[in-house]
């Protein structure tokens, strides 16, 4: 019994990281209609920043803050220098361009840190017992962080003027600009926030896995699955499918080892076959 409780809680924690990481993809698609293949660079660089800070100073919180800053900085750089040039291009063009940016980023990581995976020590090794199951406190903290992030993003989108402007911008760009709102600035700001969350996801995931140059690739596929299952462009859908995929990985892996790798794909195939726009996707938005 306690095996299953552990599996479910682990599933929530990997779902939490998936959510943080997929946000940049989801927002990039929902707002700018750009399938942003290099979004996982923020995640990888965030993890490496945490590795550097933790091995230098020993403070994980400082590492996470630096990771967020690095993610935001990269997001700003990519949005203003690359994505701006891609908004009116064809989907194919943007995909290849962002994918090659991703490869360049991986190349830079290899040049700086080498191919060897790096370990990051966990900030807390405390273990909490829930209903007879032993859960590391760190995993619970990860879940809590993701919940806070979700609430922040939803409040920002639904309760503030800027959030309303963003939502209006998704509907009709030109009308929002006619109201005297600089839509480009708003898009950049949103994108930077999403990239910062991806960096945070990298920092949070660093103690759970080994930090290696190809960590972005593995996460890229999972993040894409999350976004596809949730429906491209819907934040609520992304959160829902992140939880679903996290559970599928964790519980599936507990049932039979190899299922942890295959189950997310099977889940995606099923969802795509039943509802091609994803769980929460709107038909008109999925082009």
């Amino acid at each position: 019994m306690d095996k299953w409780i552990t599996a479910v809680l682990y599933g929530f924690s990997s779902g939490a990281i998936l959510f943080l990481v997929s946000l940049a993809l989801s927002i990039g698609y929902g707002l700018m209609r750009v399938v942003n293949m290099e979004a996982m660079l923020y995640y990888s660089f965030g993890a490496y920043a945490t590795y550097v800070v933790v091995s230098q100073t020993g403070s994980f919180i400082l590492g996470a803050i630096v990771a967020m800053a690095i993610g935001a900085l990269l997001g700003l750089l990519v949005e203003t220098q690359l994505l701006r040039r891609l908004y009116h291009r064809k989907m194919m063009f943007t995909m290849v361009a962002t994918y090659s940016t991703f490869l360049v980023g991986i190349g830079i990581i290899q040049m700086v840190w080498g191919l060897q995976p790096k370990p990051v020590s966990s900030p807390t090794t405390a273990i909490i017992t829930i209903l007879g199951a032993n859960i590391p406190l760190y995993r619970l903290l990860v879940i809590a962080t993701a919940i806070v992030a979700y609430i922040l993003i939803q409040t920002m989108l639904n309760k503030t003027i800027i959030g309303r402007a963003i939502q209006a911008g998704v509907e009709n760009r030109d009308n929002v600009q006619a109201l005297g709102i600089n839509i480009n600035k708003i898009f950049t700001g949103t994108f930077v926030v999403a990239s910062a969350f991806a960096g945070l996801g990298g920092a949070l995931n660093a103690p759970l896995i080994m930090v290696g140059p190809y960590m972005g690739f593995d996460m890229l596929l999972l993040a894409f699955i999350t976004v596809i299952v949730g429906g491209l462009g819907s934040i609520k859908g992304t959160a829902l499918s992140a939880i679903l995929i996290g559970q599928v990985i964790s519980v599936g892996g507990t049932i039979w080892g190899p299922l942890a790798y295959v189950a997310p794909f099977i889940a995606m195939f099923i969802v795509i076959l039943v509802k091609p726009t994803g769980l929460m996707g709107v038909k008109s938005a999925a082009y």
């Binding site: 698609y29 399938v35 040039r85 291009r89 064809k90 989907m91 194919m92 063009f93 995909m95 290849v96 361009a97 994918y99 090659s100 940016t101 991703f102 490869l103 360049v104 980023g105 991986i106 190349g107 830079i108 290899q110 040049m111 191919l115 190809y214 690739f217 596929l221 894409f224 699955i225 596809i228 491209l232 190899p258 790798y261 295959v262 794909f265 995606m268 195939f269 795509i272 076959l273 091609p276 999925a286 082009y287």
Partner: protein
């Protein structure tokens, strides 16, 4: 984008006197490769790779250049062809030609099955779901079927292959001529496809899908046919790779290699007839030179792709066509100037 369209229009309305050149071209290219093999004997493996990879790239060109569907999962189709041939040769039979035939059948089945699923999706989803399938395939060859495929160690079967009639393709020397002959046949067929009604319908998928319905075609069936064709060509190329190397390992189906064929197609000129050939030649040439200096070369591939995308949009074949058009205008002008005098 409009440039690409112009290119396609130009390809369709090619002047009658240049059609002859376009027919001669496959023979010319293959002939040049054979000459190159005797001029630089130690580059033979490279030339075989160019020939095989260009079949792979031509398949991708149908999907990406004609129909506008870009797939990041082509390595999966390549490696499933390679593994079909390898598994047949390692466990069941010994005839390499049957292995190739089986790989083509596998490509047909995979293309038919996944085509009917994937082609319902919009193009952005299509790209991503292919990448996901590729990851699953890699996992399958690497871990799930480890008892049969021996995982990362790879599958070796060179000693099991039997001699084939006419040309014994077990020897690299003979295999070179075999691949050249195959490339020639594929090129001629490909040229036929490019000019046929099917080729035109493929291109119309990208520019105006509704029009196809008005013309009485079923766009979904056309898309599945195009996808299947690309898959068959990829797995055919995979089986050629498998027989050439005498062993396969899961490395071939890695996700990070998905960009290779895309870059080769882009470099040659998207949607052009002989673009994939030049793209492959250019891409593998760059790879050959760069791999002398760095072992992992994602960085270089990325930079090259960006340069092509933003600065060299029409690719090598487009550059040739432009240069030809420029030259023709010059000559015409010269002729008319003479007349005026």
């Amino acid at each position: 984008m409009s440039k690409v369209k112009n290119l396609q229009v130009r390809a369709n309305t090619i002047a009658p006197h240049r059609r002859g050149l376009s027919l001669v071209f496959p023979f010319l290219f293959v002939g040049l490769l054979i000459i190159a093999r005797f001029l630089v004997p130690n580059k033979m493996t490279f030339l075989v790779e160019v020939a095989t990879f260009s079949i792979y790239a031509m398949g991708n060109n149908i999907l990406m250049g004609y129909m506008g569907y870009i797939s990041f999962g082509q390595p999966f189709y390549l490696s499933s062809g390679a593994y079909t041939a390898a598994l047949y040769l390692a466990y069941v039979g010994r005839n390499p030609l049957i292995a190739i035939a089986l790989a083509i059948v596998t490509g047909l089945i995979i293309g038919g099955v996944f085509g009917t699923i994937f082609m319902r999706l919009k193009s952005s989803y299509f790209t991503l779901i292919n990448a996901a399938l590729c990851a699953m395939g890699l996992f399958m060859f690497q871990r799930l079927l480890i008892d049969v495929t021996r995982g990362d160690d790879g599958l070796w079967y060179r000693s099991r292959m039997l001699a084939t009639p006419l040309l014994d393709i077990r020897f690299p020397k003979n295999f070179f001529f075999f691949v050249m002959a195959v490339l020639l046949v594929v090129l001629l067929l490909y040229r036929q496809l490019h000019r046929s009604a099917l080729g035109n319908v493929f291109r119309t998928i990208q520019s105006n899908e509704e029009k196809i319905q008005f013309l009485g075609y079923n766009p979904f069936k056309i898309k599945v046919a195009g996808f299947t064709l690309a898959t068959v060509m990829a797995s055919f190329a995979g089986s050629l790779f498998a027989i050439n190397f005498g062993f396969v390992n899961p490395n071939m189906g890695e996700n990070s290699r998905a960009i290779e064929v895309v870059v080769a197609t882009l470099l040659g000129g998207v949607g052009s007839l002989y673009g994939p050939l030049f793209g492959t030649l250019g891409f593998l040439g760059i790879k050959d030179i760069v791999s002398n200096f760095v072992s992992r070369w994602e960085f270089v591939v990325g930079i090259v792709t960006m340069l092509i995308l933003f600065r060299f949009n029409e690719g090598i074949w487009g550059f040739f066509l432009n240069a030809g058009a420029w030259l023709k205008v010059r000559i015409d002008r010269g002729a008319s100037a003479k007349k005026a005098r």
